[in-house]
Each structure stands twice: as C-alpha cells, then as structure tokens.
C-alpha cells in the first residue's frame, strides 16, 4: 500500500522535492507499518475568528502513543527569491532538512535570520546562485532580507513527519495515519501562540473535517515600496 503525502499545493511541489519526499516517506512507512494495522485519515478546516478560511497555516501531528515515526527524510525544501519576494511565504520542514535558497532574481539578496532555532545569514549573493541551509533545530525561523525590509519568509521546523500547510480553501488532510492519540499543533504567521490540542484518530473514516479556529493578529506585512519603472509588483 502506498503512503501518500499530498500536503503541499505550492508552485514547486509538483516539480520534485515534495514528490520525492512524499515517495520516500511513503516507501519507508509502507515497509515498516503498512502490512500491520488499519490506517486512519484526518481532515481539518482552519478558519479565523471571523470565519474566513485561513491559508498558510501549518498543522502538525506529533504521535503520543508511540506510533512508529518514519526515518528522517532525504532531500530538502526550496525557498526562492523571485521578484524581490520569498516564495513560498511559509515553509514547514522536518528537523534536519536542508533548504535550498536559490536567487532567481536579477538583483542580489542578503538572507538572514536571528531566530533562535537557526541564526544564519547569506550575505549579498549574486542572482543565479543558490545556497543551502540545514534546519537542525525545531522551532520557528523567520527569514528576512537585509536590504529589502518587505521580504520575509517563515520556516517552521518540526520534529514530526506529519505536517501540512492549509491551501486557499483552508483545508488540510492526512491519510494513512496510524490510529491513536496525537498532539495537534496549528501555527500561522499571525498567531501569537500556536494552537495546541490532543486528537485521537480512530479507524473509521468519513467524519466531518475538524473545524479549527485561529485568532490572528492584524496583517502587518510590509508592502513593497513602489519602484519607479519596476513594472509594478505593487
């Protein structure tokens, strides 16, 4: 049987990394867990206090009943710099994942983070080059660009292989999970504190998606200053 990991619907997920990750995770899980037990699936719907669908929220499930965790992933993630923005804005990775930072822009960028789990910087580097940073501590790493105040990206480093980012419909879905209790954590760039609760997954499927409500801070993303003749991203 196959362990599918249809987590990410981003620009890059079809092209390699996520598929590779999914395949490898799936292979590992299949070898170890597959023949033994019946599998559960889990679906959640994330809304904000106003009932609006929330995208870019990361939901993670950490096993509490000794469910077997797949081995560390091979490969990594990628956060590009395109048109003076980071893409994707939110990235979730398992601890120890190397993340590639390709500069796909026409100008230099200076990547940095002063977040405790990963303090690093990639001083001004040329377009076309790519650097890799391995996130070896769990936690939230906020990444900025030293010369472009409006550029920011979030990397949520997690100790569990089961995590997923909500899509534009605010939904997240897990399949083929071992039944049992899990620590559910829901994070979003605009939450002050991640939502955390315990969930127990049974073998019966088809239940209604779990509705989770996040209290979000006001949007305070810096808008990019209009650059004369830049063709106007903003």
């Amino acid at each position: 049987m196959r362990f599918d990991f249809p987590l990410i619907t981003c620009a890059v997920c079809g092209t390699g990394f996520w598929r590779r990750l999914g395949i490898s995770l799936g292979l590992g899980a299949g070898i170890l867990v597959g023949p033994l037990v019946a599998q559960s699936s889990f679906e959640a719907l994330v809304v904000d206090a106003a009932g609006e669908l929330v995208s870019d929220a990361v939901l993670s499930l950490s096993p509490l009943d000794g469910q077997i965790v797949p081995a560390a992933a091979v490969g990594g993630a990628k956060i590009s710099q395109i048109k003076q923005e980071y893409s994707p804005y939110v990235t979730a990775v398992r601890t120890g994942t190397p993340v590639e930072f390709p500069n796909l822009d026409t100008i230099q960028h200076h990547i940095y983070s002063v977040s405790k789990p990963k303090r690093f910087e990639i001083p001004l580097y040329e377009p076309g080059r790519s650097e890799v940073v391995t996130f070896d501590q769990p936690g939230l790493v906020v990444i900025g660009c030293n010369i472009h105040d409006w550029m920011s990206a979030y990397v949520l480093v997690l100790d569990t292989p089961w995590f997923s980012k909500t899509t534009a419909d605010g939904r997240v879905r897990f399949v083929d999970l071992a039944p049992g209790r899990y620590r559910l954590e829901l994070w979003h760039p605009r939450v002050s504190k991640p939502l955390s609760r315990e969930v127990t997954l049974g073998t019966t499927n088809g239940a209604e998606p779990l509705r989770l409500t996040l209290t979000l801070r006001p949007e305070r993303r810096l808008r990019r200053a209009p650059v004369p003749g830049a063709g106007g991203a903003y």
């Binding site: 002063v114 906020v142 900025g144 105040d149 305070r220 993303r221």
Partner: protein
C-alpha cells in the same frame, strides 16, 4: 474756600490747569491703550508660542522616531542578534557609537518582552520604566512605535521614543528606545522661533528647573510660583521686578510624573515701544505746560497790568487830579477804557470849570440843573426873555448916606430882587451899578420864559413894597424901580476873555428890554413895569396888561407896541 487775590493768577491757573487736565487725560488713555495692546500682543504671542511648542514637539518627535527607525533598521545592529549569544558589551559600545552619531542622550535595547538587553547609561540601575510604559502603548499601534516624555534620571527630562527592531518585519526581535534631553539648547531653540522665554521645570519634592532661557535666579523664582494644578493657564507673574505674562503647559511623562513648560513674555519688553511713545508724550506734555505757563503769564500780565494802571489812575482821579491823563496805547477794551478814563477826567475837569463859572453867574439851582442836564454853554441862538430893573431915587438917597451904609442898602435891595428873579427860575445875568439884568430861558430852556419874567417882575414889585415898609420903619425914604421886559431870539454863550468869562446873552432883543425900562419914568404911562409886544405874545397866563401904544425906542427905526403890567386882579 481758596480765593484768588489776583486775576492773573486765576487766569494762569485756569489755562495751565485745563491744559494739564487735557494732557493728563490723553496720557492716561494712551498709556492704558498701550498696555491693553501690549497685553493682547503678549497673549497672542503666547498662543502662537504654545502652538509652536506643540508643532516643534511634534516635529522633534517625528525626527526622533525617524532617527530611531533608521537605527532599528541598521543591519549592523541586527547582526548583534545573529551570534549564538547576545554580546552585551558589544551592544553597549555599538549603542554608544550610535548615540554619538545621532546625539541622543540615551539609547536602550529591550527584548520583545521589555527586558533590558543593553543601554548607554553609565548607571548601575538605568531607568527603563518609561520605555516599558511606551512599549505597552507601542504594541497597540499599527506602526508599533510610541513617543512621549520621560525622566531618564532624576534631573533630565527627555523626549523619548520607542521603535521595534524588526527581524524581519513584522517580527519584533527587540525594541530600540531613545531619549533626547530637554536642555537649555532645546529651550533656546524654542525661544528663537517663538521669541518667548521658555522654561522647563518639575515640582517633585522641591521645585526644580530643568532648563530655561531665563536667568537662573528668575527661573528658580518661577519654579517656586508654579502650582501643581497649573495647566494652560495664563498668568501674570513678577520675576526679579519684571512683569511676565506666562502660559503654563503641563507635560505628563510616560510614568505619570508632571513637568511644566512655561512660556513667557516680558510685558516690559512688549511695552518698550509704547514706553518710548509715552516718554515723548510726557516730554511734549511738559513742554506744552511750560508754553502754556508762559502764554498764561503773558496773558495774565497783559490783563492785570492795565487793570492795575487803571486802578492807580482811579486813585489819581479820586484825589482830584483831573489833569493827569492815562496813556494806554491799545486798541482793545483796555485802550477804550483808558480813553473813557481820560474822557472822564476831562469831563470832570470841565464840570469843575463850569461849576466855577456857574457859581458866580447863576443861582445854585440853575447851576445844578445846568450840570445835570449838561446845557451847552457855547454860543447858540435861542429865545429868551430879558428883564432889566433899575433903581429910582437911589442917587438922592446916596447923597445923605455914608458909603458903607449905601452899599449895604444897595445890596439889600439887590438881594431881594435877585431872590424874586431866581424864585422864577431866572438867572441874574449881571449887576450894572444899581441895575439888574436877568435872563429867563437860558442857559436852561424853558417854554414859559415870558410868564416867568412877568411873574418875577410882579414879585419884585411886591418885594420892593415890603422893603419900603421896612425902610419907612427905619425912617428912610422909600425906593422905586422901573422894569423893562422883552422876549426875543438872542445869542447866548460864554462871553469874555480867557481869564474871565461871563455867561450872557447879546442881541437887539436885549437892547430893546434895556430901552423899555427908562420908559417907566414917563408919568403918562403910570407904571413901573413895561413889556414889549413880543413878550405879551409869548405869555400864557393872564395878567393885568394895559396897552401903552407904539413907541419908537432909541436906536430903533420901527415903532414897538408896549404894554404896562398892572397889579394882578
């Protein structure tokens, strides 16, 4: 009540007094208006100053925020947080460098929860509280920035700002706090733009001056005058003897303490131009008073002097000296008064002379009447009745008598006759030996001179009879007289030399009267009183007249009707 003994003094006082009142009133109103204007100007200046203070404070705050924001975005500062541990000493030295760059009085780095990471204060226990208060405000703001006031140590009032250090936006990695001391330079800046005295002070345990453009003594004096409640109040305070209009504005610090900004303007300074005007006005007032005094003196003297001279001259006249004239060469009332005085003197002299003349010539009644009516004594033609009376039988009488007794007897006769004439208002013009010439109707006019003359003749006849009875009693022979009366137009006037004048009448009519008198001697007429037909025609009363026919008198070519006057019925 005070009375002026000299008219000049009174005039002087009135002129100078009126002018002084006018000038002082003007001065008073001008000074009052000046003061009102100055106060209004000061109040306006203070309002303007208060607005400027707000604007400057806002601008300064904006500038401080901008500086803090730039600093917070500085990558060098951000790199302090890239290391595995936060190096406080490095941070402090970096802050010191920034402090030097932007001339802040203090720089602080707080962690996102408000804990102090690094600061530039030398103190062991730096004052962080004001920034923590700002932090709670900033967290509510979309910009995550806040600004206000705070005491960063006991003495120093600061404008303080707090901005987030984004790493990256909107993640707040730390807070940057900055303080800018309010010092004398800040006060002077404010004074430069507002022209107001600026003082920052705080009360606390004891009032304390933080910064001031005033002298230290006055600033200290001012700090003692501030009451805790004062805010936006407008007051007039006296500092070092100078009056200041003052506006208080309370400034509350982030930690709830109070400081005051006192904006002031010296009323003296504001009034300075007005004072110049007032001084000019005072000088002008004094000068005009002096001029008024001089003019008043001149006027007073020009009035009192002639008055005094006239007064003296009055005494001269009163003493009987009519010959001295007063000489006042003026064309005004005084000149005319002096002329009137001179006219009075000469009038009085003339009167004296006339009285002298009249006393010798006329009866006192006639003289008085002459003086009263002012009869003209110059030559004039007028109708009079002339009476001549001649004594008969005096020559035989005189032969047997000594000269003394003769004169006595003659005078006795003349006295009786004169009395009879004067009793009828006649004037004894002259005695010619024992002859009497009397005039009726001159010098005083009377319409019935003929009647008066006839009545006088009848009275003389009676008086003579009386005298004869007395003479008979004395054993003397009786006297007789003859009277001629004529009424005619004559020339009357003072006749004679300069040394001796006689008021008399001359003319044909006079001669006729003189010629009628001797006709009484004629026995065929059998009368002692003969009147001409002119007199008869002029008579108004009824008398016992008897026509005597026509007579041609000596020296006349035409005959005259004459009449005898018999005893009245």
């Amino acid at each position: 009540m005070f009375r002026f003994r000299h008219f000049g003094t009174r005039l002087l006082c009135i002129i100078v007094g009126l002018l002084a009142v006018a000038q002082l009133t003007t001065f008073f109103f001008v000074a009052q208006a000046n003061r009102r204007n100055a106060l209004a100007a000061v109040e306006q200046a203070l309002d303007r100053g208060a607005r400027q203070f707000e604007a400057i404070t806002r601008e300064r705050q904006a500038a401080l925020l901008l500086a803090a924001r730039s600093l917070a975005g500085d990558y060098a500062l951000r790199q302090l947080f890239l290391g595995s541990t936060f190096n406080q000493d490095t941070a402090r030295s970096a802050l010191a460098s920034y402090q030097n760059r932007i001339r802040a009085s203090g720089l602080f780095i707080l962690d996102p929860e408000g804990g102090l990471l690094a600061d530039t204060q030398s103190s062991e226990t730096p004052v962080v509280e004001p920034f923590r208060r700002l932090l709670s405000v900033a967290e509510m703001e979309p910009t995550a920035e806040a600004a206000g006031w705070g005491f960063l140590d006991e003495a120093a009032l600061n404008q303080i700002v707090l901005v987030p250090l984004f790493a990256p936006h909107p993640e707040i990695a730390a807070w940057i706090g900055m303080g800018f001391t309010i010092d004398r330079v800040a006060a002077e800046d404010l004074k430069d733009t507002s022209s107001l005295e600026v003082t920052f002070l705080t009360l606390g345990e004891t009032p304390r001056v933080i910064a001031s453009t005033l002298s230290p003594e006055r600033a200290l004096e001012l700090s003692r005058l501030v009451r805790p409640g004062a805010d936006v109040a407008l007051e007039r305070l006296r500092l070092g003897g100078e009056e200041y209009v003052s506006r208080f504005r309370r400034v509350e610090t982030a930690t709830g303490q109070s400081a005051w900004v006192v904006l002031q303007r010296s009323l003296e300074v504001e009034l300075a131009p007005a004072r110049t005007l007032e001084n000019v006005l005072v000088a002008f007032t004094l000068a005009s008073l002096v001029v008024a005094l001089l003019i008043g003196l001149f006027l007073a003297r020009s009035i009192s002097r002639p008055v005094r001279r006239l007064e003296e001259h009055t005494r001269v006249i009163a003493s009987g000296d009519y010959a001295t004239a007063i000489h006042l060469p003026r064309v005004d009332e005084f000149g005319r008064l002096a002329e009137a005085f001179n006219a009075l003197s000469s009038g009085l002299a003339e009167r004296d002379r006339v009285r002298d003349l009249l006393d010798k010539n006329v009866s006192p009644e006639v003289a008085a009447r002459l003086l009263r009516d002012g009869a003209a004594l110059g030559g004039e033609e007028r109708e009079v009745t002339v009476l001549f009376a001649d004594l008969r039988g005096f020559t035989p009488l005189s032969e047997g008598l000594p000269a003394r007794e003769l004169i006595t007897l003659l005078n006795r006769y003349l006295d009786r006759m004169s009395a009879a004439v004067e009793a009828q208002g006649g004037v004894v013009d002259k005695y010619i030996g024992d002859e009497i010439m009397a005039i009726f109707g001159a010098p005083v006019d009377c319409a019935d001179s003929a009647d008066r003359a006839v009545r006088a003749a009848l009275a003389m006849r009676g008086a003579l009879a009386e005298l004869n009875r007395e003479l008979a009693a004395e054993g003397r022979p009786p006297l007789a007289f003859g009277v001629g009366i004529n009424t005619a137009q004559v020339i009357a006037g003072n006749i004679g030399s300069r040394r001796r004048l006689n008021y008399s009448v001359i003319g044909d009519g006079v001669n006729l009267a003189a010629r009628l008198q001797p006709l009484t001697r004629r026995a065929e007429f059998a009368t002692d009183v003969i009147i001409s037909d002119f007199t008869r025609a002029a008579l108004r009363g009824r008398y016992a007249l008897r026509a005597l026919g026509d007579i041609t008198v000596k020296g006349k070519t035409t005959a005259s009707h004459i009449h005898a006057v018999d005893a009245a019925e």
